[in-house]
Symmetry: C2
Subunit: 160 residues, 2 copies
DNA sequence: TATATTTAAGATAAAACACTCTTAAATATT
DNA sequence: AATATTTAAGAGTGTTTTATCTTAAATATA
């Protein structure tokens, strides 16, 4: 495991979990798939689970979910696997995250109060919604394909 | 329960949980205390738990933690309660959140990968750290006392 | 057809998180 | 001193999240 896949190994504990494991694993797997082109168009889930150090069955379930939502397609049997149904340059991070975490992902109050934006806003509302919209915009304008190249550009810019 | 306390009732489900229940309840309780001055300097936890619709024992435990960390002081017995040890205009949101969620609260990778900022950054790193720093800066420069007035100002600005 | 491979689906288990309960300690009031 | 009130502390319970296990279905190969 090297190069782009280096981004994709596991940790034990974490704080400020903006994205759940579902979202993390799903995103990492899709990033992996977008970065590693496949001859057949299909990726073996077990291999991926080993490369990414994610539980095979758990990853299977997550990808299964993305298949059911029409982002991926699967093929059973030898040399089967999972592949993009929608091409990765047309899948935004927002689409992935909403598919895995729920459509209301970008609508929550920082303090966990109900009806953010509908009822009277909490004291953090103005600040939080601005930040949240930045996050949402970035997620909506970044595709899976973008990630590798964007990162490369940023690295260059950082080192310059 | 009205006015400022209106911000402070409970919901059932939530997504994108930036702050855990611990942090949410702790922040809401401290916001309540900062907004409602007390004659004795102490607030009854049971009353607070009812006003905020938070489990009494759970809230007790959370405030207990903040007492142990030197932010609050408690007084047992009749007319006892919990009060600020550090005045609320000197307690930043960052202090509260770090006390409740851990000191590494503002240091986590968006994708949950280990060693954000130490190892080679993940594809979201540059974008995420910028956003995360905004959040951190806001939390570090906003005190509990600020919240009420800031909110008021913002409401006025919004309606103007 | 028989066998191996691979994902699908559902049940089960473990871990983390969010409470809840009980008892103890401190304080005030009587 | 006795009693009521209030927080402290720790054990216990329930729920959600995360992970695992088992069996089924689909496909390829021999
Ligand atoms: S109501 Fe809290 S962030 Fe919108
Ligand atoms: S390494 Fe992922 S956000 Fe820093």
């Amino acid at each position: 495991m090297g190069g782009f896949a280096m981004y994709l190994c596991r940790q034990k504990t974490l704080k400020m979990r903006v994205i759940s494991r579902l979202g993390e694993y799903g995103l990492r797997a899709l990033m992996y798939m977008a970065a590693h082109k496949s001859d057949t168009g299909y990726f073996n889930i077990r291999v991926m689970s080993q490369e990414l150090d994610i539980s095979f069955h758990f990853l299977t379930k997550i990808l299964q979910g993305l298949t059911q939502r029409g982002l991926l397609q699967s093929y059973r049997g030898p040399n089967g696997g999972i592949g993009f149904l929608v091409p990765p340059d047309q899948i935004t991070l927002a689409t992935v995250v909403k598919a895995l975490e729920g459509d209301d992902f970008f609508q929550n109050c920082l303090l966990g109060l109900p009806g953010c934006g509908e009822r009277q806003p909490c004291p953090m509302h103005v600040f939080w919604t601005a930040l949240r919209e930045s996050l949402q915009t970035e997620f909506e304008t970044t595709t899976l394909d973008d990630l590798g190249t964007q990162t490369l550009e940023r690295h260059l810019r950082l080192k310059a």
